[in-house]
């Protein structure tokens, strides 16, 4: 309902913009590249979808008159996504960003029907001639916060609020743990799965439970700032997720792993305008700026220095978070000494590293 309304509004505004363009130069108005987005959450989530929308706004800012963007928010994964994509494609959008894993099959289907439309799918693994995929190596940031956690936790135990047991999230937990173990081999993690990307109340409950069970530092792979608020209230430390949450925890936030899609989105829109767009697979991290760290706060200088050095080492490629020896929970060797796990293994990760006391839900 709501997206319908917003689209209608966007359409009305679009007509206004077009009318203005006509007065200017009719040809220019026609050449405008229409860029469409679909989001899984509301843009007001201040997390995942919010960050993608910041990328959309960056396109408008950078390319101004040459582009026109529109978006559909709260599009459920499944048949609705296909309808939403179809609608954008049919209404003349030549570049469409589908920003959630579960849109994957819908994107491939619709892309077949509209070969002249370019599609960009986030966090998936299916490509086509007119479908690019892109994702960010959030695990690089999670390795850094794992190290910080091990330094800052007095009890040697972190609470981890997780969403769904998919490779992306499992990879984050493992990377966090490997970072922590590099500082304190006996570090412990307690994991709670809230079965939602986004439910402030449940996330806050999970945070309180983890604190009650002895965690004195929190991290999350869910999208709301509620756990950060709980940490601030209870006087413990936490890491922000997706966007900088310092406002919610001025005394609690150590840093945050931030998704920054803007440079990639602007580049891809430019590529289409220049006729240089090609189907590709992008997995950007700290090096390409797709993953950023919020300022390091509420920690002593030596920890800050360690964090900055780790960040630099990952950025320059000197350090890969998943460098062996890595054992899984059953004691099986997954990566030999000095060897890093391949992207293929990382993308399909469905096992915990040694030392995590949780059973992975299947």
């Amino acid at each position: 309902m709501k997206h319908d309304m917003k689209l209608a509004l966007a359409a009305v505004l679009g007509i206004g913009v077009l009318a203005a363009g006509v007065a200017d130069s009719a040809a220019q108005a026609e050449e405008k590249l229409k860029v469409g987005f679909i989001y899984v959450g509301p843009i007001g989530d201040h997390g995942w979808s919010y960050q993608h929308d910041q990328g959309r706004l960056a396109i408008e800012k950078a390319l101004g008159e040459k582009v026109q963007t529109s978006y559909l928010e709260k599009v459920p994964e499944g048949a609705d996504a296909e309808r939403a994509l179809e609608r954008l494609a049919r209404s003349g959008h030549k570049l469409i960003f589908a920003t959630s894993f579960g849109y994957m099959d819908s994107v491939i289907k619709v892309a077949k029907r509209y070969p002249d439309v370019k599609f960009e799918h986030a966090t998936g693994y299916k490509r086509a001639k007119n479908v690019s995929i892109y994702s960010a190596r959030f695990y690089e940031g999670r390795y850094i916060i794992g190290k910080i956690a091990a330094k800052m936790s007095k009890k040697g135990m972190a609470g981890y609020i997780a969403s769904f047991p998919i490779p992306e999230v499992v990879r984050g937990i493992n990377s966090f743990m490997l970072g922590a173990q590099s500082v304190n081999p006996d570090f412990k993690i307690k994991v709670v799965w809230v079965n939602s990307w986004y439910d402030p109340g449940k996330e806050a409950d999970a945070a309180k439970v983890l604190i009650a069970q002895g965690a004195d530092i929190l991290t999350q792979h869910t999208d709301s700032a509620a756990p950060m608020q709980v940490a601030q209230e209870k006087g413990i430390l936490a890491f922000g997720q997706a966007s900088d949450m310092i406002k919610f925890g001025p005394k609690a936030q150590l840093t945050a792993v931030i998704d920054d899609w803007a440079p990639y989105y602007v580049q891809r829109a430019k590529d289409v305008l220049d006729g240089k767009w090609q189907s590709q697979d992008t997995w950007g991290g700290l090096a390409s700026g797709m993953v950023k760290m919020a300022p390091y706060t509420n920690m002593p200088d030596d920890v800050k220095k360690m964090a900055q050095e780790t960040e630099e080492a990952i950025r320059s490629g000197k350090l890969h978070p998943f460098t062996g020896p890595i054992y899984d929970q059953d004691g099986k060797l997954r990566a030999k000494e000095g060897e890093a796990l391949s992207d293929k293994v990382l993308l399909g990760m469905n096992w915990y590293v040694k030392g995590i006391d949780d059973k992975l839900p299947k």
Binding site: G44, P200, D358
Partner: protein, 306 residues
């Protein structure tokens, strides 16, 4: 803080919004009206409470404003179902979507701002008693309101003439009308009360539970409240028990997970609904019990004969 104390406090926080919203909906349904729009009214209450709390610096004022927002947003539903005698299911679903949408639009400027937290009560000496202090004397005002309202609704429905009239309207509106009771007025007031309670439940989310505004922060609690009313077979005390049971099951699940038992999280999310189905099966086996408590006119529009 002991583990048990932390557990009880978390359960209370999780149960309070459910209890507030379900108590309101119970009165609505007892009057023979099915309002499926609880989720939308909660969202409206949450955003307005957040905005007013931020603007005035008073979370209590915010909560009041949230209740008022619930009343305002339910007015179209009153018009549709009581004046035009429209289908209540369709109108209620429309209200759920409308409320969420309006709240999202209104709240766009408030995303990403920390809110004002409702202060917890502090009674000197009493609040410092271990366990009993924080649980009984250290809650915020909305928790006490939720208990008082449950008791008040129970008293009103079963101990007053007005309550009897409201129930009569819900059991047989033609008979109530023949007796001279103002069916549509009673229902309108009941719906407005339901709106205020749902608004208050939403306000609890945005000024106490998680003092922030983000779209969809109600996250399905309005639907759980609806299930809760059925689960409780339209009895206020059972609504109270149900809300705390749902809350306790959920928090226990989190504890079990954090302790490393590897419970499937999907099952946890489904538990309130499973419990409702089980309750329905159990009560439907007992015909007398079902008949005694079910408002027979639920969902049926009333058009007075001339």
């Amino acid at each position: 803080m002991s583990g048990l104390e932390a557990f009880v406090l978390t359960v209370m926080a999780a149960a309070t919004p459910l209890l507030l919203a379900a108590t309101g909906e119970l009165v609505v349904e007892r009057a023979g009206v099915l309002n499926l729009g609880v989720e939308g009214m909660m969202a409206a209450g949450a955003v307005v409470a957040f905005a007013v709390a931020l603007g005035t610096g008073s979370a209590a004022l915010g909560a009041l404003a949230g209740a008022l927002a619930g009343v305002l947003v339910v007015l179209p539903f009153v018009f549709l179902t009581q004046v035009l005698a429209a289908n209540q299911v369709a109108s209620g679903l429309a209200l759920a979507l409308f409320g969420l949408g309006v709240a999202g639009l209104f709240g766009e400027g408030y995303v990403g701002q920390p809110g004002v937290r409702l202060e917890k009560l502090h009674v000197p000496a009493l609040s410092d008693i271990p366990f009993i202090g924080p649980v009984l004397f250290g809650q915020d005002v909305l928790v006490y309101v939720s208990f008082v309202m449950t008791a008040a609704v129970g008293w009103f429905l079963f101990r007053t003439r007005w309550g009897l009239m409201l129930r009569a309207v819900g059991v047989n509106h033609h008979a109530a009308h023949a007796l001279g009771h103002p069916v549509r007025l009673v229902r309108t007031l009941a719906i407005l009360f339901g709106g205020a309670m749902a608004g208050l439940a939403g306000a609890y989310l945005s000024v106490s539970y998680t003092p922030q505004w983000v779209e969809d922060m109600t996250a399905g609690r309005g639907w759980i409240a609806l299930a809760l009313v059925v689960f409780a077979t339209w009895r206020p005390v059972r609504v109270l028990a149900g809300a705390y049971l749902f809350g306790a099951v959920w928090i226990m699940g989190l504890h079990a997970q954090a302790a490393g038992y590897g419970l499937p999280p999907q099952l946890l999310s489904a538990l309130p609904y499973l419990a409702t189905i089980v309750a329905l099966v159990v009560i439907s086996r007992n015909r007398a019990l079902t008949l005694a408590n079910t408002p027979a006119m639920i969902g049926q529009p009333f058009v007075p004969e001339r």
